[in-house]
């Protein structure tokens, strides 16, 4: 007898297994439609290699593993790929994800299979490749790709087969062991072959006597061969089927924090995985089916069903005669760690071991939770030896650092604490929340750190560039100065080029001024007018600027004020000059304006009269008026022309 250890904590919920473990496994007929999520395992999603409309055979690869941690997906039956769409995934979040939908044709026609003819001769790598090709993932629920788990660098002294099935209600492994014990043992031998013949311990809870007997019988069949497989019966206690707990029960050692069993020379595999490996290597069949328990008071035909991966929940429930009107809670997985689903079209995946269609009041009612009195029942129950009441406190207060310090990450979310909590606090939910927040805080911190590094690198680069430029400039300046000095030394009489240039510009200006041709009186007048207008505009602009500056109390206020004063003087001078010139020419802009207005007025009067003439009843009278208006207009035009002609005559005189 192998020695059995104990683990801290654990609880004894009602097992509720007899509802489903009394009858043999029933093979469910191929459903009309199969939905295969590309991500039904831990790790990277597989990549679809079929297209809409393709015909696929049973067992044909339809999506290939991507990256190291990933798994292949095969068509569970023959038929046409009808869609590559987003469908609800079997997850608490009920999020959608890409799925391959196959409309089965009912022929169930296999692809050509290649069973191993001489499995004993296969090398480790060959076995590993076969496991990988068959798309096998952990069948216990977590769905970790098995090939990755078996691909180990370190030496393995113990292979643990997890047959504990500690969750209440679930009996899929129980029935599997009763009916396929020989194949399971054969699968275990393949696993041992793959791992270098370690000892194998099958951990099974003592509430499954028939399965234990079946395994022992199967082992006795193998007595002729050298076997080092032992069936270890362990006391029924939830969660003894947790990987870490089972390792402790069977070996007395704990898996190190943050590590995996392989760190202490142990590999754990689910009993269903052993069977899947047998199917894959001995029969050549990839993982396309599994045993799923349908149970709960709403299920008329509670029991275990061999279902194709991708079967939609509603098809299985209909086959098991589940009365959906009687159930308000549909749990995928067991009552302790399973999750509720709302969409009955959710597909079953490689890890789906149970559908629990609970009638009302069959499971714990949703209770209002009370204050935590720190009674410590949760601490007694915790299999990870944590302080759940403290973690709850920290999660509630959002003190995530303290929660981490109290080993939040070691929580396996088994639900034992919440099961015993007399205040009925949904503790696991608090821990999941805290874990999620810790994750996002950590990733934010990582991003912030990256951003900081990027920023600092950039700053440094800019500083470097600037100093490099400065350096170059300095070198150039020194070189230029040297060249200049050399030049001057070579030619000491040459004057300063800038002074020379300035002198040239001034000279040119003077020349321009003196060389200006005598202007005509019209041109002179226009120039004066323009000069006056320019100074006026300048004054206006500067005044506005000054007002703004005053409003903002700007430092330029004083200098602006000065400019305004200067401009005022200039504008006045320009205006005076213009007036003087006008006087000299005998111009009178005011009079000209009145004359212009008179011309325009008379013109308008004529237009108006002419318009009314078209519809007038008495054209004769109007005609007369028009003639008068035209005469007035002519006079006005004449006087304007006279006035405008004056400057010329004035100059002549």
């Amino acid at each position: 007898m192998h020695k059995i250890w104990n683990f801290h904590g654990g609880v004894h919920p009602n097992e509720n297994k007899t509802q489903s473990n009394q009858l043999p496994i029933v093979v469910m007929p191929t459903p009309k439609q199969l939905v295969l999520p590309l991500s039904q395992h831990i790790g990277k999603a597989a990549k679809a290699i079929v297209e809409r409309g393709d015909y696929v055979l049973k067992g044909q690869l339809i999506a290939s593993a991507q990256g190291f941690v990933s798994a292949n997906i095969h068509a569970p039956s023959s038929g046409y790929v009808s869609a590559l769409v987003e469908r609800t995934l079997p997850h608490q979040s009920a999020l959608s994800g890409p799925c391959i939908v196959i409309d089965t044709d009912g022929k169930d026609q296999w692809v050509e299979l290649n069973p191993a003819t001489n499995p004993e001769s296969l090398s480790k790598q060959e076995l590993l490749n076969l496991v990988h090709a068959a798309g096998i993932t952990g069948m216990g629920g977590a769905s970790f790709p098995s090939a990755v788990k078996l691909q180990l660098k370190s030496d393995i002294h113990t292979l643990i087969i997890n047959a504990a099935e500690c969750e209440p209600y679930i009996t899929a492994d129980d029935r599997l062991m009763r009916e396929y014990a020989d194949q399971i043992i054969a699968g275990i031998r393949l696993l041992q072959q793959l791992l270098g013949q370690p000892q194998c311990l099958i951990g099974i809870e003592d509430n499954k006597p028939e399965a234990i007997a079946a395994l022992r019988l199967a082992l006795s069949h193998n007595m002729d061969q050298h076997t080092n497989i032992e069936v270890c019966v362990i006391p029924t206690k939830y969660p003894s089927g947790g990987e870490k707990q089972l390792v402790e029960i069977l070996t007395g050692h704990q898996v190190p924090h943050g590590g995996i069993p392989a760190n202490i020379g142990i590999v754990c595999q689910n009993v269903g995985t052993a069977k899947a490996i047998f199917d894959a290597i001995i029969k050549g069949q990839p993982l396309i089916k599994r045993i799923t328990t349908v149970t709960g008071k709403a299920a008329a035909n509670a029991g275990n069903y061999e279902v194709l991966i991708g079967t939609q929940v509603e098809d299985l429930l209909a086959f098991a005669k589940v009365d959906l009107t009687r159930t308000s809670r549909l749990v995928m997985g067991g009552p302790m760690m399973g999750f509720t689903i709302q969409d009955t079209q959710t597909p079953l995946v490689k890890g789906t071991n149970c559908i629990l269609a609970a009638a009302d009041l069959e499971l714990a009612p949703v209770a209002d939770h009370h204050a935590c009195i720190r009674c410590g029942q949760c601490e007694v129950a915790c299999p990870a030896d944590l302080l759940p009441q403290q973690l709850f406190w920290f999660a509630k207060a959002e003190e995530f650092e303290k929660a981490q310090d109290h080993n939040l990450s070691d929580c396996i979310e088994c639900g034992a604490c919440a099961w015993v909590c007399p205040s009925q606090i949904p503790l696991v939910q608090y821990y999941r929340y805290a874990k999620g927040r810790v994750k996002s805080i950590n990733s934010e911190a990582r991003l912030a750190e990256l951003a900081r590094q990027r920023f600092e690198t950039r700053e440094q680069r800019l500083v470097d560039e600037k100093s490099a430029k400065e350096e170059k400039r300095k070198i150039r300046a020194v070189a230029a100065a040297a060249a200049q000095a050399a030049k001057r030394a070579a030619n000491p009489t040459e004057e300063d080029p800038i002074a020379a240039a300035l002198a040239r510009v001034n000279k040119q200006k003077q020349e321009q001024q003196t060389a200006a041709a005598p202007k005509s009186p019209e041109e002179a007048y226009k120039e004066l007018k323009t000069a006056a207008a320019i100074t006026r505009t300048k004054l206006k602009k500067t005044s506005t600027a000054l007002a703004n500056a005053k409003a903002k109390d700007h430092e330029l206020e004083a200098s602006l004020q000065q400019t305004v004063d200067q401009l005022t003087v200039k504008a006045e001078a320009a205006l005076a000059e213009l007036k003087a010139y006008e006087a000299k020419l005998g111009l009178d802009p005011e009079k000209e304006k009145t004359l212009l207005v008179a011309v325009a007025k008379t013109n308008a009067a004529i237009r108006k009269l002419e318009k009314t003439l078209a519809t007038a009843e008495d054209p004769q009278a109007l005609e007369k008026d028009i003639t008068e208006a035209k005469a007035a207009h002519q006079i006005a035009t004449q006087s304007l022309a006279d006035h405008q002609a004056k400057p010329a005559s004035a100059q002549e005189s």
Binding site: Q92, L330, F339, L363, R374, A384, D385, A418
Partner: protein, 345 residues
């Protein structure tokens, strides 16, 4: 039927806080019975009065805090406080003393800190300590066991603090008091000069045994773990034994220490209060041991007759610190450095 979306686990053992509290209340009954046998109806009257007050104050303050009244009132925590106070107060305490103690326990020590689960100090002990400091005379009025009052007399005393029938000089110091205030005399001398001491000690012993019985029942049905009470009794017994060995004339023996005063009531009903105690198993051991040592020190050298209220309040104060240093080693962590961050790589 609409399918609900709920978080796991979907199962529950259907235990309730109110049921835990009920077990605690039931477990006090043997002690109550024996106490009443020796000291008359006083404790019983006090118990009913305290319960009514506790429920009244609880409802009142829940209303003021705008909390749902029924669920909190029915959780039984106020009744537990009332029971503990009534059992700890002298059987001859008048109505106003109980009122002050309950008021302070429920309103100040419990609800002003946030109500059930949030109070750092044991409410009953806060109320008790307040009265002990404010009304030391009333708080030490323990009658001799030979004094038996009828229910009517007790009732009269309870409200008016006088006894019709003209009995006087019937209250006296407790055995613990006697042992302290007669320092200089050996215990044997005290015993011979006070024939009542033996009787008082006997009554005290039976009461303590009754509480021990109730406490063991609670332990058996796992209302609390053994760690805190056992650590407390062990440390008190150890200190008493050690000093008694050294100077048997001055220090009472371990059995006397363990079976007088409020030792057992405290060990199983107050030290085990989860809200105000330490959290982990190791922490509970430290917490209990601390109470035991403090009790011994205060009983031997302090100026108060019994020490539990102060010892427990002092340890309540240290509970968060104890928690910090007594985190259990979680699964998979190295045993020697449970607080090390290094193993997270």
């Amino acid at each position: 039927m609409a399918l609900v979306n709920l978080s796991s686990p979907h199962h529950h053992n259907l235990s309730k806080t109110s049921r835990l509290m009920m077990w605690v209340l039931l477990a006090t009954l043997p002690g109550l019975a024996v106490q009443s046998y020796f000291y008359g109806y006083g404790t019983l009257i006090n118990l009913l009065w305290a319960s009514a007050l506790a429920l009244g104050f609880e409802a009142l303050i829940l209303g003021l805090r705008r909390r749902p009244i029924t669920p909190y009132l029915t959780d039984g925590s106020a009744l537990v406080t009332a029971f503990l106070l009534a059992l700890a107060l002298p059987p001859f305490s008048p109505w106003w003393l109980t009122l002050v103690a309950v008021l302070f326990s429920i309103v100040f020590a419990k609800h002003l800190y946030g109500g059930l689960g949030n109070n750092p100090f044991n409410p009953a002990m806060v109320g008790y300590a307040l009265c002990l400091i404010a009304f030391p005379v009333s708080m030490t009025q323990w009658a001799g066991t030979e004094t038996t009052l009828t229910f009517g007399q007790q009732w009269h005393w309870f409200w008016l603090e006088s006894v019709n029938g003209g009995i006087d000089a019937w209250t006296r110091a407790t055995p613990l008091d006697l042992m302290r205030h007669t320092k200089g005399l050996t215990l044997n001398e005290v015993a011979s000069s006070n024939p009542q001491l033996g009787l008082g000690l006997a009554a005290s012993m039976w009461i303590n045994l009754a509480y021990l019985l109730g406490g063991l029942c609670l332990l058996a049905i796992r209302v609390f773990t053994w760690h805190a009470p056992v650590a407390m009794l062990a440390s008190l017994g150890f200190c008493a034994g050690l000093f008694h060995m050294g100077e048997p004339d001055l220090y009472p023996s371990a059995s006397q220490q363990l079976l007088t005063g409020a030792t057992m009531l405290s060990a199983f009903f107050i030290v085990t209060d989860p809200v105000t105690g330490a959290t982990s198993r190791k922490g509970k051991l430290v917490f209990g041991a601390g109470v035991g040592i403090l009790v011994f020190i205060i009983r031997s050298y302090g100026s108060y007759p019994d020490a539990f209220a102060f010892a427990i309040l002092l340890m309540n104060l240290s509970a968060p610190l104890i928690d910090t240093y007594t985190k259990p080693k979680a699964y998979g962590h190295q045993p020697k450095k449970p607080h090390s961050q290094g193993d997270k790589q």
